[in-house]
Amino acid sequence: MELTLTDDQQLLRETAIRFMQAACPLETIRSLVDEKSRTDLPAGYLQEAAELGWFSLLVPEEFGGGSISGDGLRDAAILAEERGRRLQPGPFIAMNVMASALANGGTADQRERVLPAVMSGEAGAAWLANDATGAWAPGESISVTPKDDGFVLSGVAGVVQGAAEATWLLVVASGSDGLSQFLIPADGAGVTIHPLDSHDISQRFATVELSEVQTGPDALVGASGESGADIERQFQIALTLLVAETLGALDGLFEMTRQYAVDRIAFGRPIGSYQGIKYQLADMSLSIEAAHAVSTAATKAVQNGQSDAGEMASMAKAWLGDIGIEVAQGCFQIFAGIGYTWEHDLHLFLRRITMNGLLLGQSEWHRERICTIHGL
């Protein structure tokens, strides 16, 4: 979280927290799991969230959107962090990526028909930029070929968040002319969505199969074969928000652990008074404090469109990927046995943090990308 928020940002944050506490506390998430619900969302969640502005922040006012502070991504990162702290489900990142993509490069029809539905939470969104294994690899396993005056899309995207409930899919496909993006209905002919069970039980993923999905030219978002820069920009937005969400989850888990170290008595003392425990917590807290620093730095850079923003977002993701999994394990160690029980919330956080570390490029992938950016 940034060190200072404007009054309006503070209001956005507090309103969001009240909504999340009422609409989807951890008990609700647990009951959706116990019911083996195919949806991870309580009824009306997206619409209510939309009323608080969650999906309009990256859209200019001329298209019906509006940020809080003038810096929409910084506002969205505040929400993402609070969402992570409460392990909120739902395609928050995909909705914002979709809204931003349509505002930025959508056709007039897409902006008039689809964008308002996304911003109002009436239509769920998913972004298909993974390969079949779920690894971040835009266009790797979905191809496009021209047909008549339209296109044919084929391929598979794995581990796509929010796909099972999406109304619209934003598809990255590679063709002979390069990378393109298409906006297609999720219930169209040739689209099959296979819901998945997953490690992260607080949200749902799906594999999306496209077999010879026919689209007209009006499904293109941006010019054919020229979407590389748009995809990079959307990637930076998604990375920034995923980093903020992971950080929120880490903060939430760490605070539970810190409190436990103060309360738990062993050998006649609170366990947090032992340097053996205290030093582990201090080291974890350093990792998290540094994560706040790098997360806000990357968010500002992406917001401002700095030329090195992509690299900064990658470094933030690599840092969170590494420390996330270490801190989650460290917290488990301090809770000890109770943390291995289903009833304790630790595993819910552990699951989200682990999963987020793997989505949108693992730390190793980002480190390699950093070297490549520098021409090494």
């Binding site: 201090a282 401002n304 070297c371």
Partner: protein, 426 residues
């Protein structure tokens, strides 16, 4: 205190812009403009000759009335509001000024402000003009062979003899004591009081009879730190800083100064990714391993550490600017370096391979990686070990309970006796 400096005749407060203009003229006519950015020097740059040169520069500034602009007049300053000092500093920033290395920080950043807060007026009137004139550089006689992290466990003995004090004991890790004029010394004045209650601070001239200062030969084969032997060093009571046995109060002032914290920074200053760890890329090129995926991972990791460290300092600097910097937050910056400097150093030797750690005898740059590796130990110990930072973060920032204490509430002499017959029972 007599006013000896040239412009001391000014009594009315001058107009700020007129003052700035005068300062600009004086600098242009008397000081040398610097070419390029401020230089950073290695430890062994600061020889007695280099220090003497800086003293001459400081003397020139002092005589013109531009040293201690906001200091009280009775202490050799100009007694002007701090805006005047800021104006002068802005005008002076592109000139070659006195550079005493780490002694600049220990003198002007830590010791002198503490002395001003707690010293005796008659001492300060004699001492501070010398400081401003560059004739009194102050080192820190803080740590001892038997008390490093545990500063309040000092065992250097101060015995009062009429109006004199006699000091006996040993100090260590006193940076550049061999180049300093004075040292600020913590000593035990009452062994029958509890640990924190029997301490007193003194200003000690480095040329006092009985004081032997020896540079320590460090693992990097340079000498930045010294060890200092006190054999019946006798000083007047005038040199005492703060009340007798109230040394811990003085220490609190001093520690706040020493820990400092980040420079205030503008919240909206842009951070950048920076160059890809240039030292490591060079090592990989030399070793011919830039295509090796494991090497690329290491370089990517080091670059990320560099960037995260910079972002963390900026965050701490912003806290400082907002007036919200607490000692716990400042400890994050210190611990980050203490933990990640050695990680980065290890990456350097791994990327460089054996060829980076052996060199032709006539290759001047040959030892670079070796020295870097060795020097990356410093931040995990100097100015408070990683463990002390973790205590600070754990107790002040995270609100974790303290460890039980075995050295409070009983005479220090008994603390030492009990510790040597340790049973583990409080």
């Amino acid at each position: 205190m007599t006013e000896t400096n040239a412009s001391a005749g000014v009594t009315a407060i001058p107009d700020l812009e007129a003052y700035r203009g005068q300062a600009r003229n004086w600098l242009a006519n008397n000081m040398e403009r610097r070419v390029g950015p401020p230089e950073h020097h290695e430890v062994d740059h600061y020889t007695p000759a280099v220090i003497a040169n800086s003293r001459a520069l400081q003397r020139r500034v002092y005589e013109a009335g531009y040293a201690g602009i906001s200091f009280p007049k009775e202490y050799g300053g100009q007694g002007l509001p701090s805006a005047y000092e800021a104006a002068y500093n802005e005008e002076a920033k592109d000139y070659v000024l006195a550079d005493f290395g780490i002694l600049t920080g220990t003198t002007f950043g830590v010791c002198v402000p503490t002395m001003v807060a707690h010293g005796q007026p008659a001492f300060l009137a004699e001492f501070l003009p010398k400081v401003l004139a560059g004739e009194a550089l102050v080192c820190q006689f803080f740590s001892e062979p038997s008390s490093g992290s545990d500063l309040a466990g000092a065992r250097t003995r101060a015995t009062k003899d009429g109006e004199l004090w006699i000091l006996n004991g040993q100090k260590i890790w006193s940076t550049y004591a061999h180049l300093a004029d004075w040292g600020m010394c913590l000593a035990r004045s009452d062994w029958d009081q509890p640990k924190h209650r029997g301490l007193t601070w003194f200003a000690v001239p480095c040329d006092a009879p009985g004081l032997t200062i020896r540079p320590i030969r460090q693992i990097n084969d340079t000498s930045e730190f010294c060890e200092d032997f006190f054999d019946d060093v006798t000083i007047p009571d005038l040199y005492r800083i703060g009340d007798i046995n109230e040394g811990w109060t003085v220490t609190q002032t001093m520690l706040v100064r020493e820990r400092g914290g980040g420079r205030p920074v503008d919240a909206n200053a842009e951070l950048h990714a920076g160059s890809l760890a240039p030292d490591l890329v060079q090592l990989a090129r030399r070793a011919g391993t830039t295509e090796d995926p494991t090497v690329r991972q290491k370089i990517g990791r080091a670059h990320t550490i560099d960037f995260v460290g910079a972002a963390l300092s900026a965050r701490i600097g912003e806290l400082n600017r907002l007036g919200r910097l607490d000692p716990g937050s400042a400890a994050y910056g210190k611990l980050f370096k203490g933990v990640y400097d050695p990680v980065r150093a290890r990456i350097a030797v791994e990327v460089g391979g054996p060829g980076a750690l052996a060199w032709q005898p006539d290759d001047e740059g040959g030892p670079e990686t070796s020295l870097y590796y060795l020097n990356c130990r410093i931040m995990s110990i100097a100015g408070g070990t990683n463990e002390m930072q973790r205590n600070g973060i754990g107790e002040r920032k995270l609100g974790l309970p303290r460890e039980p204490s075995f050295d409070t509430g009983k005479p220090f002499s008994q603390v030492l006796r009990d510790a040597t017959n340790w049973t583990g029972k409080p």
